[in-house]
Amino acid sequence: MSDTTPSSSKTADKAGFAIAFGLAALSFVVGWDAWRLSSVNAHSAVGPAAFPTIISAGLALLAVATAVEAMRAGPVDRPRDEIVPMAWVLAGLVGQIALLPFLGFSIATGWLFAATAKGFGKGPIWGHFLAGTLMCFIIYLIFAKGLQLSLPAGPLERLI
């Protein structure tokens, strides 16, 4: 998101161009998939490719419109984003996904809680990690025992 810092470009809104590019890419993917589907033998009046084709065309038009608007708008000043706190929250979410299969729900989600709190400026991370893990372990117990829903189990959950 480097293009979101106070814009240094002289003529146009860089972020607008980036979004227009993203829309064009999405339009391409949807259109390509529609083209693949159109070769499938569909024995009905409107096959599986019709709607994707329309959506792809719409996205292409929107990409052009967004680019034109970005050109007209000129540079836009947007306040700077705090990268480090955001990285903490993202690390919490990614870490949860990475830890879940090995360490189970409580520990992985405890980490998510601790990392989010850290992102919002509240430490210490170890204390929050322990508190979060304990909280999640209780949630796990309620789900597993009360609702008979199994959340991913790890070493901690296997103790019971």
């Binding site: 033998n41 024995h43 009905s44 008979q148 829903l149 199994s150």
Partner: protein, 322 residues
């Protein structure tokens, strides 16, 4: 997903199994995977098993694990990879899974698990609104032969049991199965509404979906996919006796992990058999309105192999598999 909730198909429960000798050492823990979200048919089957296995003290501690997605193939893949050689893990599945494995090009299939037994099943039926000019299967066959495109069929998702049955019928009467004008609906209620409202020519679904409407005289059942007439519905002719050689059952089964020793397999089979023959299981099925179609051992394996082969062929014929 709701198609199995309904109806009180009270058919004779038949069980053709050999007693496998007394169950030896009792299992203490068991994990049953329902390869679907909570609430659906497979989930209910798994949870019913859990309840009966525990209440009958066959296995004291049973857990149910839900892994939804892609017609059960996601759960199946996970089961094949994680349960290998573990006799304490089971997976619930059904005929829908047979089709989903083929159409989704699933990397795993049912030959990679150890099928134990078929537990319950339902038959497919064809229904028309009471006001429809079609009075019998013969009328439907005639209409299809005149112009298959003019006959619209309402049923579940494309490639599912309903679609497969429609394809089999077309093939049996010598019509190109790709010409079947099949309209897919996402839920039983929605397709039933379109049949009642006369928006489509015929509806095809499991019998229980149509039963209460038929009793109220709003729908007419043209035929059913059972090999013989059902004791509970003596007036409904089978497809076969109407000259359409199709018989199909939408069944649910339980399978064990891959890589079991013959002893382990026998142990699991004994536990499942004890459950399926218990009074508590009978009561559970009656409460849910499910028919006991318990079938185990080589007979079930033969039936499964036959179903897989015929499904493969028909899905190819209707253009959903290569």
């Amino acid at each position: 997903m709701n198609q199995n909730f309904r109806g009180a198909l009270l058919a004779a429960a038949f069980a053709i199994t050999l007693p496998l000798g007394a169950a030896q050492a009792q299992m203490s823990d068991m994990k049953i995977m329902a390869p679907a979200g909570p609430g659906g048919g497979w989930d209910q089957t798994a949870r019913s098993m859990q309840q009966v296995l525990q209440s009958e003290k066959i296995v004291p501690n049973v857990q149910v694990l839900n892994v939804p997605g892609a017609g059960g193939t996601i759960g199946l893949a996970q089961f094949v990879n994680s349960a290998k050689g573990d006799p304490s893990q089971l997976i619930v599945g059904g005929y829908v899974m047979v089709g989903a494995i083929i159409t989704n090009k699933s990397p795993v299939n049912l030959s990679q698990v150890t099928p134990i037994a078929r537990l319950t099943g339902e038959y497919e039926a064809i229904a028309v609104p009471a006001s429809s000019p079609l009075k019998s299967m013969a009328d439907l066959v005639a209409a299809l032969k005149a112009d298959p495109q003019k006959v619209s069929w309402a049923g579940g998702s494309a490639g599912g049991t309903d679609h497969i049955t429609a394809g089999l019928i077309a093939k049996a009467i010598g019509i190109d199965p790709t010409k079947v004008n099949y309209i897919a609906f996402s839920g039983g209620g929605e397709s039933l509404a379109s049949i009642l409202g006369g928006k489509v020519t015929v509806g095809i679904s499991s019998m229980s979906e149509f039963e209460s409407q038929a009793k109220a005289g709003k729908l007419r059942i043209l035929g059913i996919s059972s090999p013989e007439r059902l004791a509970s519905l003596p007036d409904v002719p089978t497809f076969k006796e109407s000259g359409v050689d199709v018989d199909i059952q939408n069944w649910r089964m339980v399978a064990a992990a891959p890589g079991l020793t013959p002893e382990q397999k026998a142990e699991v089979a004994a536990a499942v058999e004890k459950m399926a023959k218990s009074k508590a299981w009978e009561d559970m099925l009656a409460q849910k309105g499910w028919v006991n179609t318990y079938l185990a051992g080589p007979e079930f394996e033969a039936q499964l192999a036959k179903d897989i082969a015929s499904t493969q062929t028909i899905l190819k014929d209707i253009g959903l598999a290569q």
